[in-house]
């Protein structure tokens, strides 16, 4: 008898509350991201896949000094130097093993030439281990760049030195 009264009480008083809670949630916006079709904008300081910057005339900024490789705690960077037509030093081979890389950003901090940056790209999964070794050609930004190169560079430089977004 007690159980019956309790059950009836639940049906009349408690259960509508529960139903109301779930119904409220039916009209809320789903939190799931429709991922490959809709992408979330990454945070401005997100540590994604590396890219190598160029000067405005298209020459590579990287002089293959090896500071990034020295700073790298995961020992993920391998490089071999060479000279270009003008006799300037640059990297012949510049490889980052993204399987070793821990995306700490020390290479970005160590770089004296403002050449290497951690970008926003995080979609470099693969079914082949070899394809995780990214070469210089893959990481160099396209020249001429599609967006305003000054603006981009300005932002990157300021980002490295921690300047707040004010002024020009």
């Amino acid at each position: 008898m007690k159980e019956i009264i309790k059950a009836l009480g639940n049906v009349v008083f408690k259960m509508p509350q529960g139903f109301y809670v779930t119904l409220k949630h039916l009209f809320k916006k789903p939190v799931t991201l429709d991922y490959p079709r809709k992408k979330k904008p990454m945070a401005p300081r997100y540590h994604g896949r590396h890219y190598l910057e160029r000067y405005d005339d298209g020459t590579e900024r990287c002089v293959c000094c090896g500071l990034c490789a020295a700073a790298c705690p995961a020992d993920a960077i391998y490089m071999e130097p060479e000279e270009n037509e003008k006799g300037e030093r640059r990297a012949k081979v510049y490889e980052i093993n993204l399987l070793r890389c821990i995306f700490c950003g020390f290479c970005e901090e160590a770089c004296p030439e403002e050449a290497i940056f951690l970008g926003q790209d995080y979609e470099f999964s693969s079914d082949n281990r070899d394809s995780f070794i990214w070469t210089k050609e893959q990481m160099l930004v396209v020249h001429p760049r599609k967006d305003n190169p000054f603006k981009q560079l300005y932002r990157r430089v300021r980002k490295v030195y921690g300047v707040t977004d004010k002024g020009k």
Partner: protein, 327 residues
């Protein structure tokens, strides 16, 4: 004579096709609605809004390898999916889905078979469905399946009693067992039996959920405890047959509930078929809503709830209704 056979054949084909499609899209509806109830998106890849997902699932299941484990009882293992699938389809034979229509000068009853003991037929056939589950659990030769089958038989036997008693009130008031006459007696909204049998309706709803093994009464399946319950060892189309059976059962109890308590196809302005579909849809919505709201019962809670609460209430309901009808 030929005419009657032809008309019946057309009706059967149409109803079977509609029910099978509805079963497929019930899975879509469930997945989508449940997803949105949980702040997810649900299937969205196959077709616009994932509308082709049931078809993709069907094709996938057909082309899956049909694995038969070594230590199964071959005959019952093969029969079980069919046994659980067929009764679900049979129920629709007596459910009137629209008002009578006149087509090419023929009076067509929009029900496959206007049985004068329709309600009895439904409950007889619906009870057969449990054999599919019990046999599947027993013949699979797996402890998980056996546990699922055992629980299922106990649950269904317990709830069958209250299930049957819950609609006695309606039958007492209507004084008929024919679904067509039941619908005709509920011609206006105020004549719906749900107003005269509120307790009976609640009991019917609860028992119907238990009968169709839906959450929160899905003891036989209980994924976290029993892997998949009675269909653990099934794959491919045999597995699909269980699922069509399950969703067919849900549709069937929704259709029967709509017919018994909510006036079936009766309704103003819109075509009668549409009214029937709307009512069934609302039942389905409630089922999924319920699934998203309440957790699964514990086994002993389920049994004590069935015997100590539902059965006395059903008996009380029957007794009070009988007394009022007598007066």
């Amino acid at each position: 004579m030929l005419e009657i056979v032809l008309i019946s054949a057309v009706k059967i084909v149409v109803v079977i096709l509609v029910v099978l499609t509805a079963c497929a899209y019930a899975t879509y509806m469930e997945r989508k609605l449940l997803a949105h109830l949980q702040h997810r998106i649900g299937p969205s890849y196959a077709g616009p809004y994932g509308l082709l997902q049931p078809i993709a699932d069907g094709i996938k299941l057909i082309f899956k390898e049909d694995i038969v484990p070594n230590n199964v009882e071959k005959l019952t293992y093969t029969l079980a999916p069919i046994i659980s699938f067929v009764p679900a389809m049979l129920i629709f034979a007596v459910v009137p889905f629209a008002a009578d229509a006149t087509l090419f000068g023929h009076e067509i009853k929009m029900v496959i078979s206007d049985l004068n003991i329709g309600v009895l037929f439904i409950f007889a056939v619906a009870s057969l469905g449990v054999y599919g589950i019990v046999l599947a659990g027993w013949s699979s030769g797996s402890k998980y399946s056996l546990m699922g089958g055992l629980r299922s038989s106990a649950q269904m036997v317990s709830y069958e009693v209250s299930y049957g008693l819950s609609i006695i009130g309606v039958i007492l008031i209507a004084n008929t067992l024919s679904l067509r006459e039941l619908v005709e007696q509920q011609s206006s909204v105020f004549d719906w039996f749900v107003w005269r049998q509120p307790l009976g309706f609640l009991l019917y709803l609860t028992c119907a959920i238990a009968e169709t093994n839906r959450l929160p009464f899905d003891m036989p399946e209980a994924e976290p405890e029993l892997v998949g319950g009675y269909h653990t060892e099934y794959s491919s189309m045999r597995f699909a047959a269980f699922f069509i059976g399950e969703y067919g059962n849900i549709l069937a109890v929704s259709a029967v509930g709509a017919t018994l308590f909510f006036g079936g196809w009766q309704g103003p302005y819109l075509p009668s078929v549409l009214w029937f579909l709307i009512k069934v849809f609302l039942f389905m919505f409630f089922y999924i809503w319920l699934r998203a709201t309440f957790p699964r019962f514990r086994y002993d809670q389920l049994m004590s709830f069935g015997w100590k609460v539902l059965l006395p209430l059903a008996l009380l309901n029957t007794m009070v209704t009988a007394a009022i009808v007598m007066l």
